[in-house]
Amino acid sequence: METILNFIQNNLEMFYVVILSIFLGIEVISKVPSVLHTPLMSGANAIHGVIVIGAILVMGNAADDNYLAITLGMIAVIVGTLNVVGGFVVTDRMLEMFKKKKKPVVQKENQPAK
């Protein structure tokens, strides 16, 4: 019990960030038109590729002779980058198609907002 309380106390900012982020995520997504579900899923998919930073840290802090850590870290960096780059490029490609026919949408979407 005390460990948990201490942990919360020591990481109070983290807890705030987590809880606020949860509400933020819900708030941001809840009004999205179903048209955008696929690009949005793909975009969110690219964002969790931020895990690649963890992979970089693993590699960057591994001792030079720790070949297991370096090998695994290397794979982690590759697949993490794949997630980030692939995710953003695919999302961009999907959204590029919307752009051509955007004009009628711009008017339609903007009116209720303003």
Partner: protein, 462 residues
């Protein structure tokens, strides 16, 4: 100083994710939103490379890191550029799996680095990241195999119990491991790794193809949580916010998708399509009548109000451009032409909109499900192109059907329905469609693209 700059960069990164996601949720800012998040990601990664320090030292092994970044970046770009629009769901699933694998690998390496006297909660986060990441990776790979048709649904007796036992075993072993109850934690750790992978596979295996978008969205959310675990581990705010944001956004998106299909998440995960398929499949297909392309062209050419219902068959045939051509031709002849888009038309919510947008179809011609259903009773002809389950009346009137309760397009209320399919084979959910034997339904067999081309040629000669 350098650490301060790093913190600012992470702050910029986190904010750009939030702003980017917000912009992605609106059609007119979506593309920019994606670029904003990408820019934030770039800043965060570059800042980590240059500025990150641990115990007063900069990162090392730059050569390996750079190689990894380049290899991943090149493969990712090529794969994302080459993939066909119809194969998009598979691609998203693969990229998601890669993120999960990354999280799992980080946990494995971090576990190897643990020394005596580590905090228990540190280990808890490592094990949690490992479990979630592995499930997400293994599950995404199975989802990919299913979506690309490389694998069929697998169900066997007692599957749910088996899965439940694995899940409990993972959680118990993981819990005991964190509690420090074993003399050889490494061995148990690797058993947990193996069981997590197994659970990921077994969890997706029985779920039917039609429910796959929901599963991918759920796994997407899971990978987000795994990224957040790693953020906790390294006390890294950008990973934490990014991960949690995707975790919660993905969860909401999953619920929205379930709502669009009128299925509860519990039903998707536990009551798999596979079982009821056997019950409703045999002997239901009644008589149907066929119509030739020239007759269909005649009907379309003299109809006043036409609604096109595009489905997966259209996507497979890459016929969206031809379809747009037909629509223009009919509009030029004075007909009122609209598209009725079911939320899960194609294979993911919004997938069909992407495909039609690719073909330059105007946005205001696309109707969502409720406005479409209001329009059908006054519609002369409904042209169904390769859609099946989303126009199945069983969903409304046959409680034994596996899709009962799903919201469908009520095309049968129109005066006439022309269904283009390649054959009488059942659709994605594997069930028969009584619509095809309705008296006002005619079947027009053939590949969507060829049929559309025939229709265009015929209408032009009229």
């Amino acid at each position: 100083m350098e650490t301060n700059i790093l913190s600012v960069c992470y702050l910029v990164g986190s904010v750009s994710f939030i702003v980017g996601l917000k912009m992605l949720a609106h059609p007119d800012t979506a593309r920019k939103g994606n670029l904003v998040s990408a820019a934030g990601m770039l800043i965060a990664i570059v800042a980590t490379l240059i500025l990150s320090q641990s115990a007063g030292k900069h990162l090392h092994n730059y050569g390996y890191i750079a190689t990894g970044l380049v290899v991943g970046g090149v493969i990712g770009t090529i794969a994302a550029r080459k993939v066909k629009m119809t194969a998009m769901p598979e691609m998203v699933s693969i990229f998601n799996g890669m993120g999960g694998l990354c999280a799992a690998l980080i946990s494995v390496v971090e576990f190897g680095r643990l020394t005596e006297g580590y905090p228990v909660l540190h280990l808890l986060i490592i094990v949690a990241g490992l479990f979630i990441g592995s499930v997400s990776f293994a599950g995404s790979m199975i989802a990919y195999a299913k979506l690309s048709g490389k694998m069929k649904d697998v169900t066997f007796a007692g599957q749910h119990i088996f899965n439940f036992v694995i899940l409990v075993a993972v959680l118990v072993l993981g819990g005991l491991l964190v509690g420090g109850c074993f003399a050889t934690p490494a061995l148990i750790f690797y058993i947990v790794v193996a069981l997590s992978f197994l659970y990921g596979v077994m969890f997706v295996l029985p779920i039917g193809g039609a429910d796959m978008p929901v599963v991918i969205s759920l796994l997407n959310s899971c990978t987000g949580v795994a990224a957040a675990c790693a953020g906790f581990l390294y006390n890294n705010p950008v990973m934490l916010t990014g991960g949690i944001l995707v975790g919660s956004a993905g969860a909401i998106l999953t619920v929205l998708m379930c709502k669009a299909m009128n299925r509860s998440l519990k039903n998707v995960l536990i009551g798999s399509f596979g079982k009821s398929k056997v019950a409703s499949a045999p002997g239901k297909q009644g008589a149907y009548k066929e119509v030739s392309a020239s007759d269909a062209a005649m009907i379309l050419a003299y109809a006043h109000k036409i609604i096109i219902v595009p489905g997966y068959g259209l996507a497979v045939a890459q016929a969206q451009h031809t379809c747009h051509e037909l629509e223009k031709l009919l509009i030029d002849r004075g007909a009122d032409v609209k598209y009725a888009i079911h939320p899960v038309a194609g294979r993911m919510p919004g997938h069909m909109n992407v495909l039609l947008a690719e073909a330059d179809v105007s946005y205001d011609l696309l109707l969502e499900i409720d406005p479409s259903n209001e329009q059908f009773p006054t519609t002369d002809v409904v042209l169904i192109l390769g859609a099946n389950d989303v126009v199945n009346p069983s969903a409304e009137n046959d409680p034994t059907s596996s899709i009962y309760g799903m919201k469908v397009l009520e095309v049968w209320k129109a005066k006439m329905v022309i269904v283009n399919k390649r054959s009488m084979r059942p659709g994605y959910a594997g069930i028969e469609n009584p619509l095809f034997s309705e008296p006002n339904t005619s079947m027009l067999f053939g590949d969507a693209k060829e049929v559309l081309q025939q229709l265009i040629t015929e209408i032009k000669t009229l």
